[in-house]
């Protein structure tokens, strides 16, 4: 599937050690344009670490990662440049508390993309509208609910016009009634054809939006396939066990 589309991410034999702890045990994976790849698996399986290795928030110990053909593990690669093409949304939002919602969104376009103040402002307001928060432009993060903060965080990631976005458990720190508003924004992004890697256990969202599921356990991808295959007919016993616990 999708072989004719552009190859966005290629991971070859990725290993990650934390001291003696072998977290990722030789992962291989290809992600094509407009794919929405959901990663599920028990805690400690290495989902987040895998995601964070892909933009080198964690240094890979061994192996190769190609982002749009650029080897990001090579020493001469300018990682800051690669990161501008990758949006990242965190579990704990990580908005900058000293800046308003709009300033949070404008910061990177102005300072990294060298966009003019005016253009950045306009882009910021458009994005806030897109996530349904146009009236919160001048609110500080501590004046926003968790769901609103996460939507601003998504807008902040989008402001750089990234080619792909990584979501690291974007809804696990939210109260149940706020999860929906964040998932709706993500749903729309998926429909627009954004390439997305999502670590999440929102099975409803995965069934709707994901094109592919990776099941990780103990640092290995133990199963992969379409949501239909994996969720309805899991092959691996650990997948069956895991799904029976969360669904």
């Amino acid at each position: 599937m999708g072989e004719d589309r552009a190859l966005m991410i290629e991971v070859i034999n990725l290993h990650k050690y934390f001291k003696d702890h072998h977290v990722l045990k030789g992962l291989n994976q290809k992600v094509y344009k407009s794919e929405v790849v959901a990663m599920i698996g028990p805690s400690g399986a290495g989902k987040s670490t895998f995601l964070r290795c892909l933009n080198r928030l964690e240094e890979p110990s061994l192996g190769k990662i190609l982002i749009e053909g650029t080897d990001i593990t090579a020493t001469r690669t300018d990682i800051n440049k690669v990161r501008t093409e990758i949006g990242m949304v965190f579990q704990s939002f990580n908005l900058f508390p000293h800046l308003t919602a709009l300033q949070n969104i404008k910061l990177a376009p102005i300072n990294v993309r060298r966009m003019s103040e005016k253009d950045a402002e306009e882009r910021g307001r458009q994005l806030l509208k897109k996530v349904g928060l146009q009236e919160k432009a001048n609110a500080y993060p501590d004046q926003l609910s968790g769901g609103q903060q996460q939507r601003v965080a998504i807008a902040r990631a989008l402001a750089m016009q990234p080619h792909m976005i990584f979501f690291d458990e974007p809804t696990s720190a939210l109260d149940p009634e706020m999860i929906r508003e964040v998932l709706d924004v993500m749903d729309n992004l998926a429909k627009e054809g954004m390439t997305m890697l999502v670590v999440s256990h929102e099975i409803g969202f995965i069934r709707e939006a994901a094109t592919r599921i990776l099941v990780l356990a103990d640092g290995c991808i133990i199963e992969e396939g379409t949501p239909n295959e994996v969720l309805k007919h899991p092959q691996h016993s650990r997948t069956q066990d895991f799904l029976s616990k969360i669904v």
């Binding site: 990242m88 965190f90 704990s92």
Partner: protein
């Protein structure tokens, strides 16, 4: 007839009183406290000895008075339900009575103390000279503040790079200048550096010594501020493609500054006071002037006057630091 009208009111007052205060232990109730206040007042007015060292028997009355007063104060202050103003009166009057007793019965020579330490006639014509000293103190302090803040910030940022080789030098700097007594440093800069070919006048020596020493303290405070910023802030910033220097400038420092302002203001108070140590190299600052005039007048009043000037300059600064602290507490909490 009249009686039957009065009785229910009385009963209801007693009832209301019991309902309102009945749960209090006896020593907090007004039926104990009010007679006690009257007894204390009577002893105070009639039985306390006059000014001067009391005779042994008179000490007895002072003792009885104080014990009763303590019982009275404890009864009032341990009851948080008592109106604020009553508790305030109790506390203030207790402190006031203690001070008054000390003044009246300690046998201190108040007149001699005044002519020696608070003799305004000695100060005639000296205020200008002390003012000169104050100006020099402020000059050294302000210049040293600017230098130590800038240098401390640079050191803190360099330390946050976590370069192991650089860190060795920075840690040596910080530990050395924090450990060496400032007065020794002042002497060293002024008297020892000339042998190395560096001759500095007292003013420059003072600024150099104070700045170097306080830069080390400032660096540690700012570093703590930088480290208090949640790791996710750095990750979010780097993930957006900002470089590590941009992250420091745009994300970390603006947040760290708010954390760091109160302790840094405290350090600056200390810096201004510590400029007094430069007296030892003959810099004509406030303490120097105070000591010099004390010797010339053979009276320590100028020294007291210098102390008063220090306090007048520093009180606003310490209050300001307290204000910033309460203000930033709210902010720091929401930064998480």
């Amino acid at each position: 007839m009249a009686n039957s009208k009065l009785t229910p009111i009385r009963e209801s007052f007693a009832k209301r009183y019991r309902a309102r205060f009945g749960h209090l232990p006896w020593f907090k109730r007004y039926e104990y406290l009010i007679p006690l206040s009257i007894i204390i007042l009577l002893i105070g007015l009639l039985l306390l000895p006059p000014l001067g060292k009391p005779a042994p028997l008179q000490w007895l009355w002072i003792g009885v008075f104080l014990i009763l007063l303590i019982l009275w104060v404890v009864g009032i202050l341990t009851d948080i339900e008592k109106p604020r103003w009553i508790r305030a009166i109790a506390a203030i009057s207790f402190v006031f009575v203690l001070g008054f007793f000390f003044y009246r019965y300690s046998g201190a020579q108040w007149d001699k103390l005044t002519t020696n330490f608070f003799n305004l006639s000695v100060m005639e014509g000296l205020w200008g000279d002390l003012g000169q000293g104050l100006l020099m103190t402020l000059k050294v302090a302000l210049v040293s503040m600017c230098i130590s803040l800038a240098l401390g910030l640079v050191i803190a940022i360099l330390r946050s790079l976590n370069n192991p080789i650089l860190n060795v030098f920075l840690i040596i700097y910080i530990d050395f200048f924090r450990a060496i007594p400032l007065i020794v440093l002042v002497v060293f800069v002024f008297y020892a550096l000339p042998f190395l070919g560096i001759e500095l006048d007292p003013y420059i020596s003072a600024v150099v010594a104070v700045s170097l020493s306080y830069a080390a303290y400032v660096a540690e405070v700012i570093r703590a501020g930088i480290e208090s910023i949640y790791r996710g802030q750095v990750e979010a910033s780097r993930a957006l493609g900002l470089s590590s220097m941009q992250t420091m400038r745009l994300v970390i420092l603006p947040q760290a500054v708010r954390v760091v302002i109160p302790p840094t203001t405290g350090l600056m108070v200390g810096l201004l006071k510590d400029t007094a140590l430069t007296t030892i190299i003959g810099l004509p600052e406030l303490l120097y002037k105070g000591i010099q005039n004390t010797i010339w007048q053979s009276n320590p009043t100028p020294l007291v006057a210098a102390a008063v000037l220090y306090i007048l300059v520093l009180l606003p600064l310490t209050r300001f630091s307290g204000y910033l602290e309460t203000r930033s507490k709210k902010w720091v909490k929401t930064a998480r």
